[in-house]
């Protein structure tokens, strides 16, 4: 028996792939052999997903109706009058934003440095070494590239300020600490294209005038780091790292350092503390790392994804990069789709793509019985977005509408999850990871966790307590020393708003 599910763009954005997957799930649960086909030419209908069973057309609005259709139409082989559809519309032409492969350009394409070179690898480094550092800064500035580690700071400006510093020594640091829950894109890059990362780091070092660099990778990635270590050895052997790179007279030593299992070590100044051999506790800013960073010297810290974009920009030019994305947020972004998503993958899409496209066209909705209730964007420090707001365009400006881009983590959450359960999960994380250096964050996370724990014990939400929580996280926002304490209000307040609107129970 065959079930066809509409898969034209309109249907996909309304969750038809999720329904198709659900039919697969039902056939497993009921032990019935059925063929589920996603048909882009089936057409669609108003207010639901068009489904075809043996030539009969039905409209399904949610998983409950899909289950009913499955039992009556497939198992009992009856005609299901309640769900029958009279009018079938032609398939929708409107497009779903396709993936653009800039960071993912070499994924799955090479094994060793020869393969990378065959694909055009290290050409950008060769080109860069013939350019003036100021020219590279200009190109990167023109591209509008913004940091992909969460803060979105313009990369060209950061490099320019480090370049302008006069110092006997400068450093570059690649931030591969990737600790933001729901984020696994940097791991993918290190697994799939370590050489592009090395090339990007070498270009950043040449640009700002650094002869030494570190890759700081989280301790939990020690297996992944083996791939990176091998790539670094290859790069040293071929003269892309080390002394007098490609006869340019530029020396650059790059080494790997491991984190010890600490989320806050991903914050750039805490990371520098860690390399210097101390507990990862954030420093006061200013001075910024570009002025006084590692060992007091000008230091550029960049995220893995940021750096991997650089060789592409050097080779293809700023203008080409700006063809993708929006005016304020040019280019592409990696999104890691996870949680209850049917497909947990890393996708690369132009900024400005809607959350709906990511959730339904790429994540294929929620698996299992439940329905999508909300999405958390940007990692644990990011915002909860209700399913009513999926049409928001994701870029660095989305935060104005209360949706954070952050690290690009997209966590799908089903309607079985309860407000108190999620809130406790979130605050426990921050309480645990707070480095304890400043009072607002140390005490604030503790207090909020205590209030939520109490509500969990009593099994009910207390409105006065919620107000108190809001007050505390807003104080933390204004008075905490670093981004950890400053961003706890993002998840907490967005979640409280959803509760108030009745979008989570």
């Amino acid at each position: 028996m065959k079930i066809k599910v509409a898969a034209d763009p309109k249907s996909v954005l309304e969750g038809s792939l999720e329904i198709a997957n659900y039919f697969g799930y039902l056939s497993g649960v009921h032990h019935v052999q059925v063929d589920v086909e996603r048909d882009a030419n089936l057409g669609n209908c108003v207010g639901g997903i068009l489904v075809d069973i043996n030539g009969e057309k039905y409209k399904v609005r949610d998983k409950k109706e899909a289950a009913m259709l499955f039992v009556q139409g497939v198992i009992l082989r009856k005609k299901v009058k309640d769900l029958a559809v009279k009018k079938v519309l032609p398939p929708e032409e409107s497009r779903i934003t396709p993936e653009v492969l800039i960071v993912k350009r070499n994924f799955g394409k090479y094994r060793d440095i020869d393969g990378y070179i065959f694909l055009g690898g290290y050409e950008a480094l060769k080109k860069a070494l013939k350019m003036k550092p100021e020219e590279i800064v200009e190109e990167v500035k023109n591209s509008g590239l913004r940091g992909r580690g969460g803060a979105g700071f313009p990369t060209g400006l950061k490099w320019e300020s480090a370049l302008k510093e006069k110092a006997s020594e400068k450093f570059v640091v690649c931030n591969a600490d990737e600790g933001e829950p729901g984020t696994f894109k940097d791991r993918m890059i290190i697994e799939e294209d370590p050489h592009a990362l090395i090339e990007g780091i070498a270009i950043s070092a040449y640009t700002v005038g650094a002869n030494k660099g570190y890759i700081y990778i989280r301790g939990e990635y020690s297996d992944v780091a083996e791939n990176l270590k091998r790539a670094m050895e290859e790069a040293y052997d071929r003269g892309f790292l080390g002394e007098d790179i490609l006869g340019s007279g530029f020396d650059f030593e790059l080494v790997l350092r491991f984190g010890g299992g600490s989320y806050i070590a991903g914050e750039e100044t805490a990371l520098l503390e860690s390399i210097e051999g101390r507990a990862a506790r954030s420093r006061f800013k200013p001075p910024y790392p570009t002025q006084k960073g590692l060992f007091g010297k000008p230091t550029v810290v960049n995220n893995v994804e940021t750096l991997v974009k650089v060789p592409w920009i050097i080779l293809n030019g700023a203008e080409e990069y700006r063809k993708y994305g929006t005016e304020s947020s040019p280019g592409t972004k990696l999104f890691s789709i996870c949680g209850k998503a049917n497909k947990k993958v890393v996708v690369e899409l132009p900024l400005g793509v809607t959350l709906r496209e990511i959730v339904y066209a790429y994540g294929e909705g929620i698996y299992g019985e439940g329905e999508l209730a909300m999405v958390q964007t940007g990692g644990k420090a990011g915002t909860f977005v209700s399913k009513e707001k999926l049409d928001v365009k994701l870029d660095f400006d989305a935060i104005k509408e209360g949706v954070s881009l952050g690290s690009g983590a997209i966590t799908l959450i089903d309607d079985k999850s309860r407000f108190l359960d999620i809130a406790l999960n979130v605050i426990e994380f921050f309480e645990h990871e707070s480095c304890g250096k400043c009072v607002p964050c140390r005490e604030g996370t503790f207090l909020v966790r205590k209030i939520i724990s109490k509500m969990v014990e009593e099994g009910k939400v207390d409105c006065d307590a919620l107000q108190e929580i809001e007050r505390i996280v807003l104080i933390m926002k204004d008075s905490s020393l670093c981004g950890l304490g400053q961003s706890v209000h993002n998840p907490i307040i967005s979640l409280i708003r959803m509760l108030e609107r009745g979008e989570v129970a």
Binding site: E178, P181, G182, R187, G219, E253, Y263, R278, A409, L412
Partner: protein, 160 residues
């Protein structure tokens, strides 16, 4: 014995030094490798002596970072991810199963000294949620049945 291991650790850590004191973290990591998952106080003291730094520098690292520890508290350390992506994708049940099977809470050690249970933030493998790590080995796409089988394998010594 301890001295030899400390010397080995220092040598390995120094290989990758770019600066005078940029490899202290590396020293503590290499000590964990040498001693099989922990860095005992006498090793830290000795390493500090060789490095000519105050022992408190090494203690600071060995106690602040969650992957490091001064004592071998159990034969195997189970680190289960409690972050939201794993949590909503079946992680709640995995944690229940672990606590029930081991009959301990987070931070505790089983009476036979076999397992310690720890909660950790996202392991960066949310494409295979729910996940846990046992002594550095990743176990993914977990179900309660899988967890039971994995624990059994460690108990019987099938996995060392």
């Amino acid at each position: 014995m301890v001295e030899e291991k400390v010397r080995n650790a220092l040598e390995k850590a120094k290989e990758k030094a770019l600066e005078e004191k940029d490899y202290i973290m590396e020293v503590v990591r290499c000590l964990h490798e040498q001693f099989g998952g922990y860095a005992p106080p006498e090793a830290l003291e000795l390493a500090a002596q060789f490095l000519e730094v105050s022992p408190s520098k090494l203690y600071e690292i060995a106690t602040f970072y969650s992957l490091y520890t001064l004592r071998k508290e159990a034969k195997h350390v189970i680190r289960v991810c409690t972050s939201l992506p794993c949590h909503v994708a079946g992680g709640r049940e995995i944690i229940e199963t672990l606590k029930k099977e081991l009959n301990i809470d987070f931070g505790q050690v089983t009476p036979d000294g076999m397992f310690k249970l720890e909660e950790v933030g996202c392991l960066g493998r949310c494409d295979t949620s729910p996940n846990m790590m046992v002594d550095g080995t990743l176990y993914k796409d977990l179900t309660s049945e899988k967890v039971t089988a994995i624990l059994e394998a460690y108990r019987k010594g099938v996995i060392e």
